[in-house]
Amino acid sequence: MSKNWWKILASVFVLYSVVAGLLLKVPTLPILHESIRNLYFHVPMWFAMIVIYTVAVYNSIKYLQTNNEKYDLIAIESVNTGLLFGFVGLLSGMIWANFTWGSPWPNDPKLNSAAIATLMYLAYIVLRSSLDEEQKRAKISAIYNIFAFPVMVVLLFILPRLTDSLHPGNGGNPGFGTYDLDSNMRLVFYPAVLGWIGISVWIMNIRFRIRKLENKKNQL
């Protein structure tokens, strides 16, 4: 119980954000209307993705320092989980964009950046599958993971700010928080972010343990 409190907290937060996100009052804004509720589901995906990719890089660095296989397994499962969240984030964003901006893939730097970041991690998966020897695979993929991470940060946080974007907070648009995220929405949004980050770490943890068991079984 003392070790698992965060899983319960994350589940409660996510459940709360689903129920409250669909029931609580939201500001009525032109174009957005009720679709503004997607904020509680679309945006936390990216927060969770960034956090879980950071976990992956941290564990890759740990792997290079210690050569302990455990860290490599955590890194690959973090990337797998991050890809899942990236895809769900893209999908929920495409549905939202279809209703508000008129097409599922408007030419927007943030969309393109997110898609390229996803490609980067798919390349990481391909790199892993091209190597057979376990230790070599762990080492080389850790190196690629660390090498690609700063570029991903530039891609997701700096490039969209240099160009015009439909997203709030980019290219001179004011951030979401400044004009339409009222305190009512914050009450749902922040728990949703924390909840989904917790869920992503939990998924990663379960996948990591499954993979560890599989490895153990294969060794016997």
Binding site: L64, L119, V126, V151
Partner: protein, 219 residues
Amino acid sequence: MKLITEIKYLLKKEMVLEWRSKYALNGILLYVVATVFVCYLSFKSTPPLVWNALFWIIMLFAAINAISKSFVQESKGRLLYYYQIASPQAIIIAKIIYNMLLMILMSTIALFFYSIVFQNNVGDKLLYFAAVILGAISFSSVFTMISAIASKANNNGTLMAILSFPVIIPVIILIIKLSKNAMDGLDRSVSFDEIGVLTAINLIVITVSLLLFPYLWRD
């Protein structure tokens, strides 16, 4: 100081080797010239936007072809020899500098030939040239490390392309913007943002390469 002498010797060795065979240089030059010519025959004349994008696509593929060779051509025995006489930092720095020089030479020739064959209407020629040099430097700093990674992974061309494209896309977006600014002849202060971010990316990539290459090196 030892590092600098090592870099100097390794750089000299790369150049001498290249000069003796002239394989990479001639091969890549021919590749660029042939590609430009194919593009010329298929496009005849291009609007400015396409002119710019086409040039960078040609440069991108030429760079991948040129730099993917930089670690494969080393035989296993020679790598073992370097391992004993030089530090990994010296090796990666020497490779990056050599690739930068190669790419700067190549892209200058490519730009020259490209602007002769195609009608060009660049507003700010000096800034465009600066963008080309900056692009050559960025390509080589990113691709050198990627080619080192790919050479460890049963090097094949596909892997090199898969690994490098997502990493190079942010660079190429910035470079295309910068060179478009130069084509339109905008005031130079407009482009400072792009130049700043590109320099920052280069510094980050080279630093990360320096930190990571020693791990990649030993196996």
